[in-house]
Subunit: 446 residues, 2 copies
């Protein structure tokens, strides 16, 4: 609705009203809307935005739109936008741009900012340093609360978050003061009296996902980041942490579906890139599945004696694959949120075996009755299939819960051990187990 | 390490040192440690905690431990803990307790709090109302910044978050003021001059996941919640939002693995509960798989003429299942993070068909060469399998991306349309397509 209003005002060239309307719309929503309209309209609207809002909208855009804007805006327009952006956001923008665009952007930033940007660009991808914000409020222990508030008043206007202030001594982090404590403590009290010395902090080279998880775990609004000399160099804020966690989850889910993750969005990824991300696993699994095919062929004779055997194959393979991926998924998620660790190995296996027995008995009973009724009341066949079903389910649950834990232990992403790989492995194991049990039961040649 | 230190001090009955040590440990970590030690030790340590810390630790515990504590502590001890807890946390605790425990807890809370608790307990599960915090700072438009800061000083000490203050008029929400704006604006300015009137807010009955997603999308520290008369009744804070998003993701991932989600942790769920959560889907899929079995049986004759046909079944079923779940997973995640919507239907299908053609051609080529080399250079067989492979992959990707979108459209959770269901459906479709193509190619009777 807002979108239609905006486009109508643009159409009628009522720029003043449009400008006023845009001031009431959240930058995130403006960025979202700009994605859906023509490039020409986008530029027109972008130029109408107030300086600060333009910077916010620019930060929230996707990289294609940003690149287009950078190529279209004049140097002075670009400079205005860059001036209003936070350094960490600028770095995020630069990391996605081709070299010539980066040069142009760096040319319009002042030297001080350029130095900061270059420092941040040094941190490895996915490190805490690469997502941290270098604007924060630092206090000294001997300040009074009144002086601290005065300092926030003076410098705070440029800081992305001032909810937590950091107390430093020779740049070393020695305490934290919540703005709530500043406001509720007496004005004459000293910072060192009210500061909390048990500071949770992370290192610049720590994995961004770990930092984000800690922010969630401890309910922080920001986590201070220190360098190898324990000097405070920046903070990671909760809003960035939420995005990191979302991206990492998307990555996990992709891997769990046998898709190599990439950072772009679904529509932002080209067809060939999508194909490339998916083919590797498919190829590998396709070739592994030929093993199952060869084993099947090995039992050709048994199947020609008892043709009914073939009808149970999809059911057994399907059930074992599903059972295995249920277990592996539970364990993968448990590992991801920190509930399960490798030391829980035996506890997990013991639990899964018990679950498998309960589930196996239930499925075997239902399936046995079905087979008894559908296949001339052949009680022997129903029983043999029941035994196979229980054996296959116990095996599936054991393998399913073991593989992610082993992967974690050897430093491989446990998410790889999800449905696609597990069900391919289970197919082979199931066929082997099925024919071993069946040939023993009915004394068929293997 | 800290854990060993704590237990050693407890062993030596050095309670004073232990008390001091505990003050330096984060409540979240204390709660985590208490889970790992004996109940007797837990009670001892819990009683040593300072009042406020005890309340925080209690909030962070799992429900089993809480119930044990409630049954062990005296009424006056319990009262002390409850007095320090935030009302929304108390409600979270109560929602998980059996009725007799709830009664006991309500008996030790004062009437004012009891009223608030009862009001919060009315909101449906998973609604914004059920997770909101009723402690927040409200200001009036005619206050000066100085008066506002004074008000925060007076009441703020009991409020869980004061980072954002809300401006109300006859209880209606008319604006928001960030504490940053209060600190950086001149003391004499009026709240109405500095407040932002474009307030993002949610209703008490809105889904908690939507509210949490908005908090992430707009980078808020809290979202105000209004009732049906537009009166401000509470706020949802970013730390609660992060937990909601994590729980909802875990729920999605469970459903995607064919496991009915439940709110307890992996180890906190009993074996029978685990079995119950997993059996429904397994049963359903097992019975559906019998259809595939019957279809296979229908083509018994074709397989007895060309026994090699059976060897390709696991590979084809595996590949189609994996292709289908790749597509469905991408779409399910896209829907969950709000990138894909139902109106993108045609765009998604068009993209998936192109991806399928690229992937299909590649896999068909590799597979064709393998068959040509392994099966007496039978070029006809290699070609027939190649055609089947491409057809099956295109079908898998189309069905895989369509089902989650349709589920969303009719109001069913798209996560259901993940690997287990998709691969069962794909098994049936694959067998049908395989034998249709093969019997046509080699003129075999169906």
């Amino acid at each position: 609705m807002i979108k239609e209003q905006i486009l109508a005002l643009l159409e009628e060239r009522k720029f003043k009203e449009l400008k006023e309307l845009l001031e009431t719309v959240h930058p995130v929503d403006i960025a979202e809307m700009l994605e859906d309209i023509s490039k020409k309209q986008m530029i027109l609207i972008f130029r109408l935005l107030a300086k600060e809002e333009a910077a916010d909208v620019f930060t929230d855009m996707n990289s294609d739109m940003r690149e287009y804007l950078i190529n279209t805006l004049t140097d002075s327009e670009l400079e205005e936008v860059m001036d209003e952006m936070y350094v960490d956001d600028t770095v995020d923008v630069l990391e996605e741009m081709p070299a010539n665009v980066v040069d142009r952007l760096l040319m319009v930033t002042d030297e001080d900012t350029r130095k900061k940007i270059n420092a941040l660009l040094q941190y490895p991808e996915d490190s805490a340093g690469s997502i941290m914000n270098i604007d924060y409020v630092s206090l000294r222990r001997e300040m009074t609360v009144e002086e601290a508030i005065l300092k926030i008043r003076q410098v705070g206007i440029n800081k992305e978050t001032i909810y937590t202030c950091y107390v430093t001594e020779k740049k070393r982090l020695i305490g934290v003061v919540d703005v709530k404590d500043l406001l509720t403590a007496g004005e004459a009290r000293l910072i060192e009296e009210i500061m909390d010395e048990n500071v949770l902090c992370a290192k610049t080279l720590d994995d961004q996902e770990e930092v984000a998880s800690s922010i969630r775990k401890y309910g922080l609004v920001a986590m201070p980041i220190i360098d190898h000399e324990n000097c405070l160099v920046g903070i990671v804020t909760v809003d960035d942490a939420m995005y990191v966690l979302q991206d990492e989850t998307t990555e996990d889910i992709s891997i769990m579906a046998g898709v190599s993750p990439n950072e772009d969005s679904y529509f932002g990824t080209s067809v060939f890139r999508h194909a490339k991300n998916r083919t590797l696993w498919l190829m590998l699994l396709m070739l592994s599945a030929t093993v199952t095919g060869e084993i099947l062929r090995h039992y050709e004779e048994a199947m020609s004696v008892m043709p009914v055997l073939i009808t149970f194959i999809p059911m057994l393979m399907g059930t074992s694959g599903n059972c295995g991926s249920q277990s592996s998924t539970m364990v993968i998620r448990g590992l991801a949120v920190g509930e399960i660790e490798f030391r829980d190995f035996l506890r997990v296996i013991f639990k899964e075996i018990r679950v498998a027995l309960v589930v196996g008995l239930l499925l075997a009973a239902v399936n046995g009755i079905r087979i008894y009724l559908m296949y001339n009341q052949d009680i022997m066949l129903a029983f043999a299939l029941g035994v196979t079903m229980i054996a296959v389910i116990v095996m599936a649950k054991c393998i399913g819960c073991t593989l992610p834990l082993l992967a974690k232990k050897i430093g491989v992403d446990p998410a790889i051990m999800a449905a696609p790989l597990i069900s391919t492995i289970m197919d082979t194991c199931t066929i082997l187990m099925y024919f071993t049990i069946i040939t023993a039961f009915f004394r068929l040649g293997g």
